[in-house]
Symmetry: C2
Subunit: 227 residues, 2 copies
DNA sequence: GCGCCGCCTGTTGTATACAACACTAGAGCA
DNA sequence: TGCTCTAGTGTTGTATACAACAGGCGGCGC
């Protein structure tokens, strides 16, 4: 009996593993926008040839995270401020829809995970760390999308989040926004969401989430106005 | 001076060409759900080796139109009725958003194209043809999404349309829905939309569109209840 | 007759060598 | 000195051969 059946070295699993790892690196700014990636280096890191790796890169390119240019290189994409604005406007509306379309009854598993996250964020408030903040933020969004049973909506929200969050992180860092303050706001959001979910008010949880997306974006815009 | 600069035999153009052609075949049911595609045959048809073709297949797989299984084949995906329901619910909301987020001022080019489409649909009503209907429907959706200037929203709507329309067409055919009647409804929708756009009421145009998506889906569900 | 096992065929996945391309540095020349 | 052209280097894109895999068919044992 295999305890970790998903770890079988099948082609699909290798693909998913590489995809997840690279996407994470891009979204957490380990590979900042504009960085050139070496197909050869990455391939050797994952212990494969360029061929399977390129498959992953094509996928990431179709997700808008990478761009390959023949004879030049493969680059992590940046996002223009105008496109970012449009994406955020859309994300606000979609965040609201999360509470409208197929709202899931408060799942005890989801509840537990969010509560765990809340504690971790509170702990982070003591010793702020931008990267850890990015990680927890990513995890929170992922879990939060579980409030809808509408899979296509969940996927789209996830996708748009992964496309924009890294730009948001980058701008925050550039504008020297106080990480500690941002962490506190984040912790408050989770607790507010938990209170709403506690009484089964999924719609309100979604609206709280929407509010925080909007406000964090606005704070970022204001702070980076002077750059 | 090159009059058709986009036709340069660059890698990017080849990729886009193959991608568009295959996507079109899938969405117009030339390749019906469940059909197995042969990488070798397709590669030779496009005059390339399997390598560049596989790049296209990976893209189509990430768009949810194909699925490759090692050692078995590459298949056109089908969609379960439950997932279809969820996607339609989402599409209704997004259709409404088309009129809310960055509504474009009625573009004369868009206007002309829609009017041309209206004429073609009217002509089609005389001699109904399921495939031609599918083509015009696809073209209409593509043009209609031009009413918003919000690019991410446009892309998402396009993507969801391409994922569901072929299933809708398949069900319509299976339920033996009267194509002529469906064409007349379609023609009416375009004219209604044109009337709304004529007075610059983009929001109403979007709501009309939403209504027709909803009703055509409901008709399909009712008709295929007896299958 | 029935069931199991192994070969055989066709498919997708992988490795590798090579072509096409973009950029750079430096030589040659005005 | 400044410009241009060319060779060189490193990158992505392509072709091809081969490995890994799934399924079906037929033979073999029972």
């Amino acid at each position: 009996m295999n305890l970790i059946p998903d770890a079988l070295p099948t082609a699909r699993n290798r693909f998913d593993r590489m995809h997840t790892v690279l996407r994470r690196r891009i979204c957490l700014l380990d590979y900042p926008p504009g960085k050139r990636l070496s197909e050869e280096d990455l391939a050797s890191e994952f212990g494969t040839s360029r061929t399977p790796l390129r498959r992953v890169l094509v996928r990431l390119e179709s997700e808008g995270l990478l761009q390959s240019v023949h004879g030049v290189g493969t680059f992590v994409t940046d996002v223009e401020i105008e496109e970012l604005e449009q994406t955020y406007e859309l994300r606000l509306e979609l965040a609201e829809l999360l509470g409208v379309l197929g709202p899931n009854p408060p799942d005890p598993t989801l509840w537990d995970r969010l509560q765990l996250l809340s504690a971790e964020v509170r702990a982070l408030a003591e010793r702020p760390d931008a990267r850890r903040f990015a990680e927890l933020n990513m995890e929170f969004f992922h879990e939060f999308h579980g409030i809808t049973s509408n899979l296509p909506l969940r996927e789209i929200c996830e996708r748009l989040f992964l496309q924009t969050s890294r730009i948001w992180l980058k701008c925050m860092a550039a504008a020297k926004i106080d990480v500690a303050a941002e962490v506190r706001v984040f912790a408050d959001e989770i607790d507010e969401v938990l209170r709403a979910l506690a009484i089964g008010d999924v719609r309100s949880a979604a609206l709280i989430h929407r509010t925080h997306i909007s406000m964090s974006y606005k704070r970022m815009r204001i702070a980076s106005r002077n750059l």
